[in-house]
């Protein structure tokens, strides 16, 4: 140390430093790496450390919160149930149904018979029925009835094939014809639970396309659903229907030389002499509605894997075979509900401004000690359970409640003519204004606290009276607080569920109540998701506005 003070080291001037840097290349850190790179590395390490600290929470929120919201948005457009439950029908409709005012052709009915039989065995036909029932009422019961009736479709051909050759009744005949020989070897003698996935024999799908498709479906259902072995199960009547249709369509059985070839060609020869009945007539026997083109139109309109149908329903429109149309008058409820939600939120917001502004003004202009005390009166409701406040209002506003009792006692209201204060819009507005008022007062108060009192004094000293000083000088400075409070109250209010549910009755409910209804009672989850997505969109726009005006970082609590 003494050396250093005795001989002060020569300090290079900035200019010399620059020259040195130019001579020696880049500036070096202590370990010899260029300083720039070393700093970059340190910065990267710092960023990485910050991200490591945030990562657990970010992943947690992504899984527990963001994924559910994404799932909801997905559900609002998802429509796979139709294409998964009746795939063959959709293909057949696509290929053969051109005149949408007429009943589709035989191919479509046959495809529906195979699909419906399979779906009925899987017990999925009622689900599809309720899904399509959201679009056209009556389809649900049609599918429920047809799930039972479809057992008989094709029976006429099953009888005739068996009459021709009893071997057609044997499961083994069918597996020998349809299944891959290796699969048969695997499936033979195994436990019912361990049967391998069904495989069709090579080439059979080219000769007997419908039969192969129907039989493969049958085998899958038998294995997955019933846990049985197709080698031991008699085929469904619909499979005989498929075989009849394939053979009468002129299947080229002469080219086939696999197992059961002789039996198959014998059947092919006999088929032209079979007594036949159109598949559409068989369906008509189950339910006459199958001859209604509108039913097929609905299935066709909702055949795609994704649909805007729920969104259309959420704005009182519907997707019909003829295109997008408004719902029938008596079913239009959602636009009304959206309007009511916005209107009532607006009224609640207005009430909060009217009641919150004077209080915030008083609090901001009182000495701090007094205002801190009075602030407790604002904060206590803020901290009190929502259910407590709602139950208080429910008790107070009842016809036999404290408010009506008091009014009767004063003599303002006759005892037999008590006011209806609850289970209507008035009840929702009163209770929600009370609940959301602190959210208006707190931002207003924090803005008003920053307004210097000297401005108003200056205005008065220049001759303004009290009102002018307030309106021209004080009020404009408090507008940001009003804006912040209004958006906050409005955002909170349009998503409210509990309070409208409990005090709103029938006329004072919001769109959220309808969403809850569709989730837990009508089970129309797609519509619930679409309504939720629209509400979410509205909230995000408002939130964006809030962020622009106030900044999310300025949110203060308590």
């Amino acid at each position: 140390m003494t050396d250093a003070t005795a001989e002060p080291t020569h300090r290079p001037s900035p200019r010399e430093q620059k020259e040195m840097a130019e001579q020696d290349g880049p500036m070096l850190a202590a370990d010899g790496t260029p300083l720039k790179r070393s700093l970059n590395r340190a910065l990267r390490a710092q960023k990485l450390r910050a991200l490591m600290l945030i990562a657990p929470l970010l992943i947690f929120i992504l899984v527990t919160f963001v994924a559910p919201i994404a799932d909801m948005l997905f559900r609002s457009v998802e429509n796979q149930i139709v294409s998964e439950t009746v795939p063959r029908t959709i293909v057949a409709l696509d290929e053969t149904w051109s005149d949408h005012d007429a009943v589709p052709g035989e191919a479509v009915f046959a495809a529906m018979a195979y699909d419906l039989k399979e779906a009925a065995e899987r017990r999925e036909h009622t689900r599809l029925g309720s899904r399509l029932n959201y679009e056209t009422t009556g389809i649900s019961s049609l599918f429920r009835r047809s799930g039972r009736g479809v057992d008989d479709v094709g029976e006429i051909y099953a009888d005739q094939f068996i009459e021709l050759d009893e071997a057609w009744e044997e499961p083994a005949t069918w597996t020998a014809l349809m299944a891959d020989p290796e699969w048969i070897a695997d499936a033979e003698g195994t436990e019912d639970e361990d049967i391998p996935r069904f495989r069709l024999a090579d080439g059979i799908a080219d000769i007997l396309p419908e039969t192969a498709s129907a039989y493969a479906g049958f085998a899958r259902v038998i294995i997955d659903q019933d846990g049985d072995n197709p080698l031991e199960e008699e085929p469904w009547n619909t499979i005989y229907l498929a075989l009849y249709r394939d053979l009468s369509a002129g299947a080229d059985v002469s080219a086939y030389d696999g197992p059961q070839a002789r039996r198959l060609s014998a059947a092919a020869e006999a088929v032209p002499g079979f007594e036949s009945e159109p598949v559409s007539v068989m369906f008509e026997d189950i339910d006459e509605d199958w001859l209604d083109p509108q039913v097929w139109g609905t299935i066709d309109a909702f055949s795609s894997r994704y649909t805007a149908g729920y969104y259309l329903a959420a704005i009182d429109m519907q997707l019909t075979p003829e295109g997008i149309e408004p719902q029938p008058e008596e079913q239009r409820i959602y636009l009304l509900l959206f309007k009511r939600t916005l209107f009532m939120s607006g009224v609640i917001m207005g009430m909060c401004v009217l009641l919150g502004y004077p209080v915030a003004f008083l609090l901001a202009n009182l000495p701090l000690r007094t205002s801190n005390l009075l602030m407790i009166l604002v904060l206590l409701p803020f901290w009190t359970s929502l259910l407590v406040r709602t139950s208080a209002w429910k008790v107070l506003l009842q016809q036999e409640g404290v408010i009506n009792d008091t009014l009767v006692w004063i003599g303002l209201v006759a005892d037999n003519d008590r006011l209806q204060l609850i289970n209507n819009q008035l009840g929702t507005i009163i209770a929600m204004t009370h609940i959301l008022l602190p959210f208006m007062i707190l931002p207003l108060y924090s803005v008003m606290q920053t307004i210097p009192p000297s401005y108003v004094r200056a205005a008065k000293s220049l001759g303004a009276n009290d009102w002018t000083a307030f309106w021209r000088v004080y009020f404009p400075q408090s507008v940001p607080g009003i804006g912040a409070g209004c958006i906050l109250v409005f955002i909170l209010s349009i998503g409210y569920y509990i309070t409208p549910e409990l005090v709103g009755g029938r006329t004072g409910t919001f769109i959220s109540n309808r969403i809850a209804f569709h989730i837990s009672e009508s089970l129309n989850w797609g519509l619930a998701a679409a309504l939720g997505a629209i509400l979410l969109g509205a909230v995000l726009i408002l939130y964006w506005a809030y962020d622009r005006i106030v900044g999310i970082d300025n949110v203060k609590l308590g």
Binding site: L58, P68, L368, S391, L396, I519, A529, V555
Partner: protein
Amino acid sequence: MAALPPYASPVQRAWYYGFRILCGLIFFFLIAPIIVVIPLSFNAEDFFTFTPGMLALDPDAYGTSHYRDFFTNPAWQQALGNSVRIAPMATLLAVSLGTLAAVGLSQSHVPFKGAIMAILISPMIVPLIISAAGMYFFYSRIGLQGTYWGVVMAHTALGIPFVIITVTATLVGFDRSLTRASASLGAGPIRTFFKVQMPLILPGVISGALFAFITSFDEVVVVLFVGSAGQKTLPWQMFIGLREQISPTILAVATVLVAISILLLTTVEFLRRRSERLRGMSPG
């Protein structure tokens, strides 16, 4: 507004007192519904209004039967037990994950800070019914619907924004040279965090924890959908009671909850004023 000057005109006087009366009425509107529940809960009879006996201050008209019902009825006791098991766990998770992330977010170089912040705050912005719907759909897919952990995770997600906001707010005033000093004296990052940083941001962490606790303890929409009968919490039981057959026991429960809120409010206010005083922001 402070005091009325002696030279005030009669109109000004009228305004001054009129305004105070108006504010008094609004304060009354704010506080009365909460206060009125308390005497009503001591009603000896099953009425929701003041009986003539209560108005005459007759001691016989008052009773604690509704409280007895609350503390003996198995349905209410089960609900209370569930609330007491769910809320602290959700608070613990929210506070530990949230504090860690808030410390990360307050570093000087955080990539995508805006986007991350927006995602972490989003549970507070999205209406509860939408969160509830999404969680119901998604949690049923992954088998969490109707389980204790499903409800705890949902409530944790809802409480996290409050922890993030309060803790980052305390960290804004945090002197970064303190951690550097601690590091230069040889403390590792974990020791520095618990010995230097944590004591200083503790008020923010505690008020964040209280917010997370009250969020979970009061929450009803999400638990209605994500929970099953086995997770019936106190607010849920109150909700059923209010919707189906309103029983006076609800008033007793409400009074107990008001007492809890007063306790929490006092703690949060105390912490807030203490930290403001420490930072010299308020003379109070």
